[in-house]
Amino acid sequence: MDATNVKQVDPTKVRPYGDTLDDGALQMSFTLPLPLTPESIEAAKQTALGLGLRDASVVHSEDLGGYSFFVVYGHTRKTIDLTQIHVPKVETKVYSREQINEQIRTRFGRKLVVVGACIGTDAHTVGIDAIMNMKGFDGHYGLERYEMIEAFNLGAQVPPEKLLQFAVDHKADAILISQVVTGRGFHKQNLTRMVELVEAAGIRQRTLLICGGPRIDHRLALELGFDAGFGRGAYAEHVAGFIVEKMSERSLV
């Protein structure tokens, strides 16, 4: 195929691509709290039109026992200017485990202490275990396996006060907090509470605060007062690499 004949993407006007560039095709599904009737199907269509879609089409509708389910396609006119987008990211070099141990040895000359937990009511330790436990996740060993890191995983449902006390007692260089259950925003309260406690204890300057979880991203973490946030796809070496770089940057030793 001759590439010159292919229409090029305009980075200042980006739209979804279904089967033609710039067709703006979207698929969505949702439920309405209405029985399935011709009126509720029309209501579903108008929901899509109300979102600004052209040619909204209800391709599937189904009764869920008093409520109704719809699959809707449509085309958006909305364009996005990619040149105006700036996403905060965890900017850090990616090291291997061996490199991280070596960096810690040469830069700090001592083991770094990392304390982690799921705080508040969260009992889901999958995330913190993946980062901290010896075994790690998906072939990436956890911080416990790092020779130059002393890792303490306090597990599930740890009260923020207890985590803080433990961090103080063990002179933690970094505190990791995992929040998996994020229903109705209460994970934000837990995370904010932790920041407040660490600040009140006067150790914020010398302690890195890092959060993680499937619904956490770096931007949210920064907004809540953390140093970094790690979401899906992050492994122990990413977290450890960040700790090493950030501590150097802040001249913590």
Partner: protein, 517 residues
């Protein structure tokens, strides 16, 4: 479709499980706990809470804490009778500090025990009535063909849970589980009343149980299908919640002999003592227990740790038999958690599902869907759930907890649940007869894999029999989690029974349990 595993090996595995549990059972019989005493008081008719919301069961147990080793049932029963009070009135007076029982001794201990026994027998008639009601429904509507479609509701608000549950039933669900608020396992009391707020789930309370039972009976009559209600007899209040579940006609309860130790850091002995009484109550109330082996695979790898699931199933089975549960009430757990991108991942899943089915032929088997490797890619997730459902019907699993395509993102949306039910119905209808048409090639990969897992489970049980279960848990042999024998929450609520200890409950439960077998 059978693997044709060596039955001698399976019998040997069961013998090892018996050897592992025997010394633990001796400890169980020698101890009581806060929650065992509270459950007993509740099964004598005690209910409700004081003005501060402290349940009366907790009021009495706290008040008589120093006398736990005698057994509180006779003390409370006799003290109430002598004063002409109900147990609730007695507890209210204790809460208001109008009565002090700390130095109270019944003049005739045998009479006090007999009074406790009368109260228990009276209260158990409520469970008998609930069972008759269930029997009537099952006779009228018939029993559903397995695998049963099991879905969860988890809004935090019991009213909203009921709306969603009813919808799910209309779509075809047979089993409804109300997911519990994440914090509840570590509460050393059971909250009171109807609740409308929770974290990632809804509080298990007796009032919520009753509310949901009524809702499911209503919709069950509408669709002419008996709907099974599930909650959690786990955490620090295991036997109490089992008692409430039996009193309110629950059909299944999550109840594992080691889950609390491993995943909630509850004291090991506390858990073992509590699970025993909770299972006796479940046996009386004909409640199917669901064990939690699926959780092992959320921390450990599903291929490498497959044998720990089988070993744990065998231990859960042994503990359950010892509490009087028959095989048909044991929903032993396992899960579909092999990473899909692993070569032959489906063969691993199939071998494991066949293995569990073959080792536990008379048990309903609780089959758990993929969770660990679910991502925000809901389309991939839906495909994984399809394979899971196919495996469930092909291998004849009893209770199929339907996977949600939005697992790992949020509690299920209405449409997530509807799509899950639609998927399962379609697959079950399309493939129910398939396994009768197929045979597994002897000596093939599937057989070799299952046999290897069985061997490893046997080796693991042999090691545990050798070092003891407490030591095995301390070394992290289950789920890679290490727990010290004297550590964990609720350890201070475990007391060695005195020679004078009296609690008529186990013997009364035993009459029915053993009468039935």
């Amino acid at each position: 479709m059978r693997l044709g595993l060596d039955t001698g090996k399976i019998a040997h595995a069961r013998e090892l499980a018996r050897a592992v549990t025997k010394p633990v059972l001796e400890l169980i019989f020698a101890h009581t706990t806060d929650s065992v005493e509270r459950a007993t008081l509740r099964l004598m008719g005690l209910e409700g809470a004081d003005a501060d919301g402290v349940p009366y069961a907790n009021v009495l147990v706290k008040h008589l804490r120093s006398r736990l080793d005698e057994g509180l049932a006779p003390l409370a029963a006799q003290a109430a009778q002598e004063r002409g009070l109900s147990l609730n009135e007695l507890a209210k007076a204790v809460s208001e500090e109008k009565i002090d029982l700390r130095a109270y001794c019944p003049a005739d201990p045998a009479a006090a025990c007999a009074q406790a026994e009368r109260l228990i027998r009276r209260r158990l008639t409520r469970i008998d009535e609930m069972l008759q009601t269930r029997e009537r429904y099952l006779t009228e509507f018939g029993i559903n063909q397995p695998p049963w479609l099991y879905v969860i509701v988890a809004t935090g608000n019991i009213h909203e849970d009921a709306v969603q549950a009813k919808m799910a039933v209309r779509q075809g669900a047979t089993v409804i589980a109300v997911i519990r608020s994440t914090a509840q396992s570590l509460l050393d009391f059971v909250p009171e009343g109807i609740t409308t707020e929770g974290f990632g789930g809804t509080y298990a309370t007796q009032a919520n149980f009753r509310y949901m039972r009524d809702a499911l009976d209503d919709v069950g009559r509408e669709v002419r299908r008996y709907v099974y209600l599930v909650n959690y007899a786990s955490g620090l209040c295991m036997p109490e919640i089992a008692a409430m579940g039996a009193l309110e006609g629950l059909d299944m309860m999550l109840n594992d002999s080691m889950y609390g130790i491993l995943f909630r850091d509850i004291n090991p002995l506390r858990t073992f003592v509590d699970q025993h009484l909770s299972r006796m109550i479940s046996a009386y109330g004909e409640i199917i227990i669901n064990t939690g082996e699926d959780n092992y695979l959320t921390t450990a790898d599903a291929v490498e740790a497959a044998h720990t699931v089988l070993a744990s199933d065998l231990l859960n089975e042994r503990f359950a038999y010892e509490a009087g549960l028959p095989a048909h009430l044991m929903g032993l757990g396992h899960a579909f958690e092999v990473k899909p991108e692993l070569p032959d991942s489906y063969l691993y899943e199939l071998a494991q599902a066949l293995l569990i089915r073959e080792v536990f032929p008379a048990h309903p088997i609780k089959y758990m869907p993929p969770t660990k490797h679910m991502t925000g890619d809901i389309f991939r997730g839906y495909a994984m759930n399809t394979m899971f459902n196919f495996t469930g019907v092909l291998t004849g699993q009893g209770i199929q907890l339907l996977g949600m395509l939005t697992e790992a993102m949020h509690t299920p949306y209405l449409m997530d649940r509807a799509l899950a039910i639609k998927n399962a119905k379609m697959i079950f209808n399309s493939a129910r007869g398939l396994s009768d048409c197929l045979e597994i090639k002897p000596g093939s990969w599937l057989v070799q894999r299952a046999d290897a897992v069985l061997d490893k489970a046997i080796a693991m049980l042999a090691t545990i029999a050798d070092i003891g279960l407490f030591k095995a848990i301390e070394q992290g042999m289950f789920a890679d989690i290490k727990r010290a024998p004297d550590g964990g929450k609720g350890g201070d609520g475990v007391v060695k029974k005195a020679a004078t200890y009296c609690n008529p409950l186990p013997a009364i439960l035993g009459e029915k349990i053993h009468g039935r077998h």
